[in-house]
């Protein structure tokens, strides 16, 4: 390629638009007969896979009868091949990562890379699919949908975590004419939708519902969803082509063909054209009913792209697309667009023709527009000669553009993109991407794809061009190198890898080591792991290399509990319990993590661990919890319904673990207090059981000691209270408080007064007064108790506090406390009658003291 001839000659007008059919490659393959093959082509210029189509009769000419799956680049170069020894193949498809999905009739999905190597991940669509078998299937980059012979639809919408999901039942009575899928990323709901064409309608099925839409009077035989998921093209039995909005709410166009039968293939060309393909004839229908027809030599496979459709045939690989506007502007015969004039001016300039200046002047005002058009046209053109010419024209224009009228770096960026595109289009690489496709794919994804295609050098160069770190490319290269270098000894290979990878600090050596291990080079894996600085990366691999101790140490050192658990579970599974315990014994963090897990999940195991480690208080704690839970649930069930006394059995269930806890706590010197307390706890529960039996009130078990005493007193059972008090050696003072609070909370003021009157309480009067106030005792009661205080200063304060200012003042006068008197005065205000009285008292006081 390298001409500067206008491409317009090869354009076909279709309505007011132009379309071009451009030959991308002459296929490098030989002897391929697409007509007898089942073919799947990955989008965005990805690889092609094919296998013999077992529904078509072919002449077997010796050799194995097992089908061979072959993969090719877009240029027809063989990438890989493998013999398929599974069952009937129901479908072929490419994932977004350009791995090949092979769907077996049993619902088993196998994944191969583009080089024909089987990948470890595979999954099944489940029992139902296996039993029924597959009638129809649709595969796309990130999922697949199958229709079983039992007319059930199953979908997987995320290949990372394949989880077969049964969609709503379409309620089919017979096999649908055809099936199509709207990918989740294109639907409003974000979930997959399946279109099924029946005799009378189209059924749209998603996870929750199946809705029927009548779209045509005759059955739909072919369906195709546009690349952006917005439209769906339908071909009916009466030879009409219909385009509907993909939710089937609106018909956009209708085109009648005179075809007898449906096309072999129906595909979108970009998002505004539909292409139909019969045996030797191809028809393209534009959005306004304009059409073009093409004759074709051999069977062709249509591959829709976002801006066109690729046509793969036995000999050639072509791209049919709408000619981008920028190219039309420049090259349409007679065009006077700025782009065309600028291009012309440059041609004149190169020919040393002075008219160049004149032409340039004629577009002066729209020069930036002309530059932009030429740059875009260069991006859109496949021919490198014309790309150069267009870029030159653009540069010529740039020189005369006012500053700031052009986006900076525009031409530079386009040159870079063109270098990338041209490199990709080389037949040796075979990725015929257009600029819009590359932009949609993004350079990051492109790099990943190149890496998968083992084009490491190209990937590395593109990565460095866009400022992406080289680590991913290098790591993949290292893995590929390891796979391919079986004959190089471990240390030599390590040195070779280390040399190339040295400059890059972000390399994840663990991944490379994992790969080395996976291909059976354990020694190399261990060596490579030495380079890894991140514990999180090392741990899983160390585990699989059988170095658990090192793994545990690393996991604990990095403080990631999740990682530590990973190692612990692996260790626990692998080793006999005593060994396991010995391993974690010395590592407190490991121990406490495992204990935390066990205390939730495996209490018996935890007990074993505690005992083995000599931590009886741990077991004691578990017993305590047991007793508490039982006690709580007992009182819970009682509070709900009728109050029933706790049975002897129920009581024993609580006390037994407590006694055990007491024993266990007793085994260590540091837990004497706990041991005694646990024993006391058991005694308390038993004592409460007895009280319930005696009194016939089911209201003791579960209370604290203080509350038990209060309950006895509340029931008027002084004898029981005394007994409990003695048994648990409750001090006089404490018991007095309990009595007082019981009387106060049950507002038994008479009893309280009687109690106070009997003899001075050991806790003084203040708590009584406080309790009176807190529980709303009548002021007279409180006052009478206050009256008993002997210290007159305190007495006066208390009077004042409950608002008995007169008494307060008098008492204060008695103790000659003029400071307090002033305060009281402030409280009541000097002007009030009380205030006056207080003033008098104060005056009297000051006179007497004088």
């Amino acid at each position: 390629m390298g001409s500067t001839v206008s491409p317009a000659g090869s354009w076909d007008a279709c309505g007011d638009r132009f379309y071009s059919k451009h030959e991308l490659y002459k296929m490098a393959w030989t002897g391929v007969e697409l007509a007898s093959m089942r073919v799947s082509c990955a989008g965005y210029g990805g690889p092609i896979a094919m296998v013999r189509d077992d529904t078509k009769i072919v002449l077997v000419t010796g050799g194995s009868t097992r089908p061979v799956v072959k993969t090719f680049s877009c240029a027809g170069a063989l990438l890989g091949a493998f013999v398929w020894d599974g069952g009937r193949i129901a479908g072929l498809g490419w994932t977004l990562e350009e791995d090949l999905m092979l769907l077996e009739d049993t619902g088993q999905v196998f994944i191969y890379n583009m080089h024909g190597q089987k990948q470890p991940r595979q999954f099944s669509l489940g029992k139902e699919v296996q039993q029924d078998g597959i009638l129809e299937c649709c595969l796309w980059g990130d999922g697949l949908v199958v229709l079983t012979t039992g007319f059930a639809l199953w979908a997987v919408t995320n290949l990372e975590e394949p989880r077969p999901q049964k969609l709503a039942s379409p309620a089919l009575m017979q096999r649908p004419h055809c099936m199509a899928v709207i990918e989740p990323r294109h639907t409003l709901s974000g979930h997959v939708e399946v279109l099924l064409a029946t005799e009378t309608s189209i059924i749209v099925v998603d996870a929750d519902a199946a809705n029927e839409h009548a779209v045509a009077s005759s059955p739909v035989l072919r369906m195709a969803v546009a690349p952006d998921g917005q439209f769906v093209a339908l071909f009916t039995a009466d030879g009409r082509l219909l385009v509907w909005v993909s939710d089937l709410t609106k018909n956009l166009s209708e085109f009648t063909t005179q075809s007898e039968g449906p096309p072999d293939q129906l595909a979108w060309c970009g998002t505004d054209c539909v292409v139909m393909c019969w045996e030797d004839f191809m028809l393209m229908v534009g959005p306004y009913g304009d059409f073009n027809d093409y004759s074709i030599d051999s069977h062709a496979v249509l591959v829709p792209e976002i801006d066109g459709v690729r046509i793969v045939s036995n000999e050639t690989h072509e791209l049919l697309r709408r000619v981008p506007d920028c190219l039309v502007d420049v090259f349409r015969p007679g065009s006077t667009e700025p782009g065309a004039l600028l291009f012309h001016a440059r041609e004149l300039f190169d020919a040393h023709n002075a008219k160049a200046d004149e032409v340039l002047r004629s577009i002066a005002g729209s020069l930036p527009e002309g530059v932009a058009t030429c740059v875009d046209a260069a991006g859109a053109d496949f021919d490198s000669g014309r790309q150069t010419a267009l870029m030159k024209a653009a540069c010529y224009g740039v020189a005369f553009c006012p500053a700031g009228s052009l986006p900076p770096r525009r031409t530079l960026d386009m040159c870079r993109m063109l270098r990338v595109l041209n490199a990709l289009r080389q037949p040796s690489v075979g990725m015929p991407l257009t600029l819009p496709q590359l932009e949609a794919l993004t350079l990051e994804v492109l790099v990943a794809r190149l890496v998968n295609a083992r084009r490491h050098l190209l990937a590395l160069r593109i990565a460095s061009m866009i400022g992406m770190g080289p680590e991913k490319v290098l790591a993949h290269w290292a893995c590929a190198k390891i796979s391919a270098a079986a004959e190089i000894p471990d240390d030599a290979l390590r040195d070779l890898l280390a040399e190339k990878l040295a400059g890059c600090s972000a390399i994840r050596y663990a991944l490379i080591a994992a790969h080395a291990q996976a291909v059976g080079r354990v020694g190399l894996a261990a060596m490579l792991l030495e380079f890894e600085s991140r514990a999180a990366e090392q741990v899983p691999l160390l585990l699989s290399l059988g170095e658990e101790e090192r793994a545990l140490a690393k996991a604990l050192a990095c403080g990631d509990t999740d990682l530590a658990y990973l190692v612990l579970f692996a260790l626990y599974r692998k080793r006999p319990l005593p060994d396991f315990l010995a391993t974690i014994q010395a590592k407190p963090l490991a121990r406490s993590l495992f204990v935390a897990y066990c205390s939730r999940k495996e209490p018996e195991l935890l007990e074993q661990i505690y005992m083995a480690m000599g931590v009886p208080e741990g077991v004691a704690q578990m017993r305590m919890r047991q007793a508490i839970v039982r006690s709580t649930s007992a009182s819970h069930s009682r509070s709900g319904g009728r109050a029933e006394q706790v049975t002897a059995v129920g009581l024993a269930e609580m006390t037994k673990p407590l006694e055990q806890a007491a024993d266990l706590y007793g085994q260590t010197k540091d837990h004497t207090f706990q041991s005694k307390a646990a024993a006391e706890f058991a005694r308390l529960r038993r004592c409460q059981g007895e009280l319930e039996a005696e009194t016939g009130h089911a209201c003791f078990v579960g209370l604290s000691l203080a509350a038990t005493l209060r309950q006895c007193l509340r029931l008027g059972n002084q004898r029981a209270a005394a007994r409990v008090r003695n048994e648990f050696r409750v001090s006089d003072k404490r018991f007095c408080w309990i009595k007082m609070r019981t009387m106060a909370t049950s507002k038994d003021w008479d009893a309280m007064e009687a109690f106070v009157k009997e003899k001075k309480p050991s806790i003084g009067y203040e708590p009584f007064i406080a309790a009176c106030k807190a529980n709303g005792a009548p002021a007279t009661v409180t006052a009478r108790i206050i009256a008993r205080i002997s210290d007159s200063k305190r007495k006066a304060e208390e009077y004042a506090a409950i608002g008995m200012y007169q008494e307060a003042a008098e008492t204060a006068a008695l103790s000659r406390d003029s400071e307090l008197l002033s305060r009281i005065q402030n409280m009541v205000g000097t002007a009030s009658p009380l205030g006056v009285a207080v003033t008098q008292i104060k005056d009297r006081l000051s006179q007497t003291t004088r």
Binding site: S505, G559, I628
Partner: protein
Amino acid sequence: MATPLPNFDEGSVPLAQIRDEARKLLIDALDSRRGKKVLVLDPKISGFLGMLAEVPLLKEHGVEQLLHLGSEPFGDLGCRSVIYLVRSRIENAQLIAQQVKASNRQGAQLEYSVFFLPRRTIVCEKVFEEEGVTGDVIIGEYPLDFIPFDYDVLSLEQDTACKELAHLGTIPAVKGKGTAAAAVLDMLSRMRKEPGADAGPGSGAIDMLVLLDREVDCVTPLCTQLTYEGLADEVLRIRNGCVQLDQGGSKTRIVLNSADRVFRDLRDLSFAAVGPQLGARAKMLQSDYKDTKAAERSLSELKEFAAQLKTLPHITRHINLAEQISRQIGAQNFRDRVTVEQAVLDGHGTDASCEAIEEMMYGEEELMGVLRLMCLISLTQGGVPKKQFDALRKEVLHTYGHEHILTLTSLQDAGLLRRQEGGKSSFGALKRALKLLVDDIDDKNPTDVAYTFSGYAPISIRLVEAAVKAGGWGALEEVFKLLPGPHFDVVQTTDENGMPVERSTRNKPVPGLDSKKRLVVLVMFIGGVTFAEIAALRFLSTQPNVNCDFVVATTKLINGSTLLESFVDETVQQAMKQAKLE
């Protein structure tokens, strides 16, 4: 009522980003299942979820019902999708497994998605595997870590994980004290070495990071906070930025954050200064009102006045709140508690204090209040005196139930409570070295952070204060020996190969402290922070000799009671709840 959210954009670091990101992640999680769905929440999450997304937003994304996590099977839900949003804890995974199994047994045709917060863990997956529900649930994660509580407060609302500090970019200077602090530094430096990390010096919005492990200063949370916000938390419990106010039998919810201008001005004041302030504001409004009537003012002045009037409901609200607080702190038991606290901090009359604590138990005051004082004595006096240790513990059991054997034991295991074994407590030396006790605090015009605890300056804040003042931590060598855990003072930078490294800057002044630009200092409290400490930091940044603004990050907002409650065994908590019901 929609919760007014604080304006996250006005702080030194735009926290709105974090909130918006969290909200987007939540919506993504909800949208992962189509149609109507039931959202099942871990109760620990539902509180702060309200700070991210309001109920209508959830409705918009198909949430028909909100449930709390439980193990009972679902009845008729009216839809097929169930989304769990729970912390990745073993017990949560277990509850989910039980619920899924129970529902499946009843023949419910449901689809379960579980989103673990902040990430899915191997342990939880293991639980699902063992319970045999791995095939029934779709596991995802909701990588929410920091929750912005206010324009300068971030909380992880959980116990561990400081990973997200790395999102804030590389912080040039890092100081820290305590075991967990050292672990975080270790983690940070490891993360800087990971691919994709931004290793260059000074790439973030933050100039200095101070990491403090709560173990360094357990004394402070045990003391009663005496700022407005602190007291509101002490007596009414601030939960997820709100308090419930009981007014004449009807409960009202008051949102407390900086969106409320009145609160913003008052929150950090000593409570003693709040009443007069509120009064003054109300009066000013009143007099303005009169003036406006008397003379016809210009429109712009009227507008200003109208804007001020808008704060009137806020003022009334705060008058109510302050009234409630002052009623509670006026009560004898509150006053007694503070008296004991002061005596303990002073180091006088331990015997009398123990006696007072005993009496509190006789009066059956709240257990946490009692335990706070016991722990405070233990921490400041080098343990509880021998003769009272057993008596106090015994009385706890007798009054509050023997279940608390477990509580006491775990407090002892944590070192918060122990028997005096001779030897002097380091608190006395600490008190002198850091000037923890400050006399003559003017509550209304404070000059020292000690106003936040009425004369006691938090150890934590004194450490931060030293860190940001000229001289740095160099002068504190002796003090650090008295506090637990290692300490460090490093600069995060890169070596000649561009690899991230840490260099010690011990005893050198902090770079940029003397510069004109105000520094942004992130103070990370690992193990929780109190409102009074946050107030103290805000106060500190207003001081003339401090040239920086603080952003506070923490694992949890705490006070002494919530801190100690975390030591109460779950079974005991259940028992306490049951006892309350009866």
